[in-house]
Each structure stands twice: as C-alpha cells, then as structure tokens.
Subunit: 315 residues, 2 copies
C-alpha cells in the first residue's frame, strides 16, 4: 500500500509538471499564427526589451502606447472600405423615403448598383453619401444603426460577417501587447462612431481608445431630455498628417509602437519613430492572395508605396 | 517567566488589534476631510450601490466613468482662471521681443498691470492674449513652458504654487472613486495642453483622461524630423454645450458621475443625469470664505445660478 501511494504521487507530479510545461509553452510562444520571420522576432525582441526593468530600453507601463490603423491593418478593406459598404446598405434602406434619389447622383448609382458611376462621382459624391447616411440622427440612434449592421451584414465574396474578416495574427498581436501592459489604440481614417460600437467585442479595444475621423455633433435639449445630434459637417479627418494630430489630441502621448498598412499611416509611423527611446514601426504588407488579397503597391485602396520604400530604406 | 511571556503576547495582540482597527477605519471611512453631510452620504451610498454586484444598480467597472470640471472644482479659480495668469506671465516674459506690445492692447494693459483696461479688452482681447502666448511653438515646446511655469509660479495672495491650490476633499474623492474602479476624467473649459503636463502629478489623472478646449495643431516635417506646430486658431471650446460634445468625442461613453461648480458645467450634469441607471451629479458650492473664497452666485468667474437652482429643485 505504501508503495502504491508513492506511485500515485509520482504520477500526479508528472501531470503537474506537464501542465506547468504547457502553461510555460503558452506564455513563451506568443503570436502562434505568425510565420517565423524577422518581423515576428523584432516584435518579440522589442516587447522583451521595453518590459524588462533591467534593460536600458525599459519603458514604464503608462507610456506603452501602441496605435493601430484599422482598415487593411486589423480588418480587410477589399474590395473597398467596409464603411462605404455600410453607407451603400444605408442608402438602399433609406431609398423608399427619398424618391428623389432615383434621379440624383451618387444615390442613383448606389440604388442601381452602378459602381462605375459611383466611382465617377468622386470625393464629392462620397461625401454626399456619407452625410446622407451618417448625419441627422442622434448619436444613440447612429450607434444602434451601426450595431444592427455589424451584427448582420455580410461580405459578398466571402459570405462572412464583416466583423469576422479580421486578421488573426493582428488579434494575437493586440492580446500579446496588452498582456505586456501596453495600451492598444485604434487610429483610423474611418469614422470614430462607426468603429466604437463593435471594436471592443472584436479587438478588445474600448471606445475611449478609438481615434478616428468625425463629423460635428451638437447638444440639443429636447422634450425627452438632452441629445447629441450628428451634423452633416466634417469635424476632423484622421488620415495622413491628421493621424499624429489625432494621436496628440486624444492620447496626449507619443506612441512607442505603431502599426499601419498604407501611405495614410506614414506620418503616424514617422511621428512614432521620432520619439526618444526604443520604438517599433510595423507595416502590414498584403501579399497573401490565397487567404486574403495581394495588393497595396499601386493599389487604389490601401496603397502602400512611400511607406514601403521608407521602411525598406530604414530597416 | 511564563507569566511574563503571556503578558507580552497580550500586549502584542492589542497592538495588532489596534493597528488592524486603524486599517479598517482607514478603509471604511472614506473622504476623511469631508464634513459629515448629505453630500458625503450620497456619494458613499452611490459608490456602494454601483460597486455591489448583488445590487440592482450595479455598474460594470468599464462603465464607471466620472468626469470632473477643473477650475473651481478641483483647483481654485480666484481671482481669475489660473490659465489667464499663465498668459499674463508669458506676455511679460515675451515683452522684450515685442516692443510693439507697449502700445497695443491688450498687451499694454498686461505690461502695465492695468487689470481694468485688460477686462475692457473683452473676449476679443483675451483671445489675442491666448493666441500670442499659446500658439506658434511646437507641442513639445509648449509642454515645457507649462511645466516650467507650474513648477515655479505662485499665487499673489496665498504665495502658494498654483498646483498647491487644489481642494483636498476633491483629491480624496478622486482617490476614493479610483479605489472603486472608476475611471476619473477632467472635462474642463481650460486648455487641454495647459492641463496635461501637470494633472497626473497633482490629481493622478493621466494625459489621455483630460478633455479640454484646444487650438489647432499642424503636422510639419522639419530638418530635425516631424513636429506638431500650434496654430493661432480655435479648434474646440469645451464649455457649456461643448462639454457633453467633448465627453462624447473623447470618451465615447456617458459618465455615471459628474462634478462641476458653475453654470458652464450644467449641460455636462444634464447629459450625465439623462443616462439609464444610477447617476450622481454634484455641484461644488463655494461658501468657505475663511480657507478659500465664498463666491459663485452672481459671480463673474465661476458663476453658479442656473445649476444651483436646478440642483435644489431636483434634489
């Protein structure tokens, strides 16, 4: 019986050792979906250095700010920005209340699925589309519209919900950074109020850590109490030179790590790089034609030329 | 000897019990500088309810957003907003480089300490003063200017550093709320970049939790790398109707508790009150002429009329 007991103990300790080993493995191999690459190695080395108190490159948790572009960096942007597809869906839903849209561009193009005419309406047409679909309602009404859309709308090619078309390696990267006491922010040219209702569920990023483009809102006292009304007027464009401006305005600290995928992110990466101490700048380069889309060089959407050249040069 | 030992133990346990009691008292009696009052009781009841998972009014930590006005709520605003005194000090420092100021209002008034003439220059004069002292430099240069001033400048009447003229009961309240997993924000009509360099040290509020008025900034690529240049152009006024707008823009969530001291805070308190679930709205009413200043009703600075009437009515 005594012998039996000691066997039993041995087996239990082996099980315990094994479960510890698994835990150690889980902790010591971050970014499991990433290919073994120089990029992965650089990210892990950077995190190890800035989180190690004995390393000269140690950075306090309070200053571990990491900023991520959204379209093409965290989720897909093909064939066009998903927010444009949201606007198109909205136009179709609202069309019965707007008979005049049948004969007015760019609405006519949307209703007739004429993507060529829509493209020809240019920036001015897109702005009209955005204002007709994003303004007029209260902030609470808009939040509900976005929540309903993101819960149901599907991509025409993949038949997946848009919120499922996010990049698994980037989700792992967000988690990995947060585990190491980074504060992760989205800094996107997309609408701030279009992102806030769903990014916490999808990326684990709370509303107060989202920086984006915005239209103006106005405080109104109604019979049912105060509301914020969305106005058809641009407030801020969080793209290119706007990204460092938005980071400064909303966060008030310079990031130590920044992640983008297009020339619209170049200034954010330059601004990050110019800070004192250890910094990490990463460009997501779309080369996987099988599981996603291979694009970016000379692409209309998410074009990455200047940034890739600068990254190659400074690498 | 045995008897001796047991005496010794007894004394030690009494000491231990006493030290425990002190600890318990420290934890169970929050807001020690506060008078025993209905206000104190309401705050503590509110916090107890929203943090108790079994209470129907429980609120998740992620939604425990508390917003605080700054001038007159967290620090003094007498005889005028301290940021105006900063601007006055800056004008005097910069005057040698601007000989034209000797004959141009409102600068002439500042140089000659003519507060009557300064007041007569009105809002337009104040705006000129702000732009001449807050714009033109980079964001990093401005941060340093503010840091130098706040570390040395003293109030003419109390001879204290301005950053020491904060209200002890409010510091305790900020701590108490954070201990209960609230996220504390400043939402002030003051300049966001004027507050960020020092509020963390003084209030424990990090830069990313400061909402305030701002001027525009512009990204510039210089020979020494990128900078953000401060432009003499208003970007956002975070006062009155602007406060709910600023809260929505920067935080993206409605506060569950809001603290102000003037009619400029009324809309923030209304916006907070209009949310679902348990809410707390508090007005700081300046009545202590001995240790501070008794003012606010009909006061020029920090006037509290509408707000106090509404608070009394809804109490």
């Amino acid at each position: 019986m005594k012998k039996y007991q000691s066997y039993l103990w041995l087996i239990i300790s082996i099980l315990l050792i094994n479960s510890c080993k698994e835990q150690i493995n889980e902790n010591s191999v971050p970014l499991p979906s990433w290919n073994e690459s120089k990029a992965k190695e650089s990210i892990i080395n950077f995190v190890n250095e800035v989180t190690n108190e004995t390393n000269p490159n140690f950075i306090n948790p309070a200053d571990r700010i990491a900023t991520f572009d959204n379209d093409g960096t965290l989720w897909s942007e093909r064939p066009v920005y998903f927010q444009l597809l949201f606007a198109i869906d909205r136009v179709k839903e609202l069309a019965p209340q707007h008979p005049e849209w049948k004969t007015t561009q760019p609405f006519k193009a949307v209703i007739e699925n004429d993507m060529k005419a829509l493209a020809e309406s240019g920036e001015h047409g897109l702005l009209k589309l955005v204002m007709a679909t994003h303004a007029g309602m209260t902030t609470e009404e808009f939040e509900q519209i976005v929540k309903d859309w993101i819960a149901t709308a599907k991509h025409s090619k993949t038949n997946k919900l848009y919120k499922e078309m996010v990049f698994q390696p980037m989700i792992e990267l967000l988690d990995y950074l947060r585990t190491n006491d980074f504060k992760t922010y989205i800094v996107s040219g997309g609408g701030i109020e279009f992102m806030r209702p769903w990014v916490e569920e999808v990326y684990g990023i709370p509303p107060e850590q989202v920086v984006g483009s915005s239209i103006k809102v106005k405080f109104e006292m109604t019979d049912n109490g105060p509301v914020l009304r969305r106005l058809p007027e641009i407030d801020f464009i969080d793209d290119k030179e706007g990204k460092p401006v938005g980071i400064h305005k909303f966060i008030g600290k310079r990031p130590i790590a920044a992640f983008g995928n297009s020339d619209g992110d170049l200034q954010m990466l330059q601004w990050t790089a110019a800070g004192d101490g250890k910094r990490l700048m990463v460009y997501i380069h779309h080369t996987d034609a099988e599981r996603e889309w291979a694009y970016d060089r000379k692409s209309h959407i998410g074009r990455l030329d200047k940034g890739l050249d600068e990254a190659n040069e400074k690498d």
